[in-house]
Amino acid sequence: MTPHDSNNAHDNNNYAADQVARASLDHCVKCNICETHCPVSAVTPLFSGPKFVGPQAERYRHGESVDHSLDYCSSCGTCTLVCPQGVQIAELNSQARAVMKADHMPLRDQLISRTTLMGMAMTPMAPVANAALGFKPLRMVIEKVVGIHRDAPMPTARTQTLTGWLKKRKAPTKAPTRGSLVYFHGCAGGYFEVETSKRSIEVLEHLGYEVIVPKQSCCGLAQQSNGLFDQATAQILKLCDELRAGGKDLTIISASGSCTGMLKHEAHEIMGVDDSRLADVSTRIRDIMEFLLDLHDAGELPTNFKTIDITVPYHAPCQLKAQGMGQPAMEVLKLIPGVKAIESGVTCCGIAGTYGLKKEKYEIAQAVGQPLFDMVKATNPDLALCDTETCRWQIAKSSGVRTEHPIYLVHQAYGLS
């Protein structure tokens, strides 16, 4: 493909999106491997399956999507991951969904994709917000009016944001010995999963890094998965500017597996964002467990871990698997004496970001995740591990088992908690 010189950003994005996804449909050999791995079509006939909706139906679309059932795709990305031919099936589906919803975007989908706003609104009134979201009659009203299922998992609001903690905490006393890193916490890591962010930062500082946490906003993932490409594109480019302000050429670390995937490949491959700022950030960002494993492979990770005697279920989220880096958390957990991590072997927990919150998809999401909930309960009724926030909320809510990021055990094994 020839380079292009148009100055029109939207035009460029269409062009780039086409190069990466649409062109790949030619490679489909109809092997049906994606169909056999799709966790959604396995539990409901409402979704016609990734091959049908992706490389097949795409040939029948021209700028409009008449097959509204494609919205039953959860965007878990499993189809793209398992395709032996490199067809970007999930990306095709996400693009078609954006076209389909362009003129009738439900208010609900706009609301639930404003993740930063939710955090900002809930933090100052955390106890009230948490109580309200646990109050059945209110949830029934929300389901009726907004379309979020009454039993869907909701984040727990915290009284302190990560920024609040960073301001108030005692500055690290040890001088950095390994240089600087930029930390990307994501919306959840800033407002709801503050503990995960704290522990990640403390582990990195323990290893001798200076951790820079620039002011940062949302990556736009929820907007992307709801088909709001224009807003999501503006969001991610703003975020790229903010992360780049943290320091030139510094490695960026995140414990938000899904947001990292958005920066690494989804914004480019699904929305066609073709911008040098994104290219810069996407090549510098590392998942925290990936980073720790890289250090270990280079012989630079201290393994003077305390023994923790625990058998713990570990679930690798779809959006982490889609990053094509294996399961670094499993490898790192193996380094901790006494830890026996059992990989779930389940494709998806069902939530897929905001999919499982929606009232018309809640039951599907629960059916998708049921084998995982059963496995978690049977393996350890007190603790499960998973790398991404909404998946943790889903597993915890549906299995009743407390679910943490794998960094939780690393933090403990270094004696930091």
């Binding site: 449909l25 030619d26 139906a57 040939r59 029948y60 679309r61 700028g63 097959d67 059932s69």
Partner: protein, 475 residues
């Protein structure tokens, strides 16, 4: 031996023959159409899929340009279900002289072919896969048309007016009674029976095979030169509108979205025998290069079929007999009374699929004149069966239908989006195919679909053109 009688026998079941039999029947004649194989199996089913706006001929052949513009509007109205109103563009790539656009604009105005120049940035927003080095673009009313649907639409209309359509009836002889045509003798290739059709008039619509038919009536040396062109279908639509090069007509300068594929073409090589057309490696490479010029990355896209068709070009003394590219695209009617002293036989050839209805009108007008009848043509006034709603085809139709019935009916073939019900309804009880899903995109399923229809008659819905390679077959 069966014997039939008719006022008029039409030989050849391509678009021209189907148009002629419809016209004849609508004017109240008792008509029979015969074809040696199925309808549209010669050149009609092996063409590019383009419903011309006329833009292509505004400079080189202004008369054809005006005819195309008028017939495009008529066909979109009377055969809506065969036509997709894709719109089209004429674009100047980096190897085309942008100044030619001025000639084009003048020609379009003179021939009344609707055309407007648009900005390149607008073009690239509408068709983002196009070459970014395009320097000029004109929007025209090109469309795409399903040749099978077109020919069956006309044939069904003719049947409605009492005509008989006899497929797999191969003409073996044309009997004369003195200086008049008396009968057409056919062999029914499905039963092996000979069929005599007594008639007053014969219209030879056998196109590239027209010389062979005329010779059966003792009219020799009718020179219809097969101008062979190859086309290549790509796996999906790389553009959603017809893309033409803004230049004097040449090889490989048109890309047409037809159903779910897009077709690049074509070439023009004189062929000796319309049954033995060759798809050469060189021509295939030439087409891929031409595609690459319009849509960068074309060569990396997946080609699924190549085929060749034979244009019926009537030999023109003004151009050399080897130069089929510059033989007239206009229609020619050969009156065998003045040429050969045989009354009751007209041969029509040349022309274009877009103007098939007009060709029929002209030849049937001439027949009426010779018969001394005053019966005006009404084919432009009435929609064919299936097109009464006036709603044109859209590529999304079948996806929309499957969206509606996906929970009630199993989808057997995802490439062609065929449900079990469609499959079962298409096949007769004795020939019901085994339920099977396809494994390629999609030769196996397509072959089965074709096999079903070969047994059961016309397709009830839209199918891709014949995808078999190499030769066309004569009437």
């Amino acid at each position: 031996m069966r014997t039939l009688s008719a006022d008029v026998v039409v030989i050849g079941g391509g678009a021209t023959g189907a148009g002629v039999v419809r016209d004849v029947a609508m004017r109240g004649y008792k008509a029979v159409l015969v074809d040696r194989v199925d309808l549209g199996q010669g050149t009609t089913g092996r063409y590019h899929g383009l419903l011309h706006s006329g833009g292509r001929y505004v400079v080189s052949d202004p008369h054809s340009a005006s005819e195309c513009a008028q017939e495009n509007a008529i066909l979109t109205r009377i055969q809506a279900d065969a036509v997709e109103e894709t719109g089209g563009y004429f674009v100047a790539t980096e190897v085309d002289d942008p100044a030619w656009g001025d000639d084009f604009a003048r020609g379009a105005a003179a021939t009344k072919v609707p055309a407007e120049e648009i900005s390149v940035s607008e073009l690239l927003t509408l068709e983002p896969r196009l070459n970014r080095k395009i320097s000029r673009a004109f929007r025209v009313l090109d469309g795409s048309v399903d040749g099978w649907q077109l020919v069956w639409g006309a044939a069904n209309s003719a049947k409605h007016y009492g005509a008989q359509i006899l497929t797999y009836h191969r003409v073996t002889k044309i009997n004369r009674d003195g200086d008049r045509v008396a009968a057409v003798i056919c062999r029914d290739d499905k039963t092996g029976e000979d069929v005599t059709i007594n008639c007053n008039f014969v219209i030879n619509c056998a196109a590239a095979w027209g010389g062979q038919i005329a010779a059966m009536a003792g009219c020799h040396d009718v020179q219809v030169v097969p101008g062979a062109g190859i086309m290549i279908a790509m796996n999906h639509r790389l553009t959603n509108s017809v893309i033409n090069r803004l230049t004097y007509p040449a090889d490989g300068d048109i890309l047409v979205p037809v159903h779910t594929v897009c077709v690049i073409g074509t070439t023009d090589q004189k062929a000796d025998d319309p049954d033995k057309l060759v798809i050469s490696r060189e021509e295939v490479q030439q087409m891929m290069d031409c595609g690459e010029l319009l849509v960068p990355g074309f060569r990396d896209a997946r080609a699924i079929h190549a085929w060749a068709g034979a244009r019926p070009l009537v030999k023109d003394s003004r151009v050399g007999s080897e130069d089929t590219r510059h033989m007239s695209r206009g229609m020619s009617i050969i009156d065998h009374d003045s040429r050969d002293g045989l009354k009751g036989l007209l041969t029509i050839a040349g022309g274009k699929l877009t103007t098939y209805r007009l060709m029929a009108e002209h030849v049937v007008d001439q027949m009426c004149e010779q018969l001394g009848d005053v019966r005006p043509c009404t084919t432009a006034n009435e929609a064919v069966p299936g097109s009464e709603s006036g709603k044109t085809y859209q590529v999304t139709h079948r996806l929309h239908a499957r969206e509606e019935d996906r929970l009630d009916d199993q989808i057997l073939c995802e490439c062609e989006l065929m449900s079990r019900r469609q499959w079962v309804n298409a096949s007769t009880p004795s020939h019901r195919p085994a339920s099977t899903t396809c494994a390629a995109n999609c030769d196996s399923a397509w072959a089965l679909v074709r096999a079903v229809f070969a047994r059961c008659g016309p397709p009830g819905s839209r199918w891709r053109r014949s995808t078999s390679t190499s030769s066309g077959r004569p009437a």
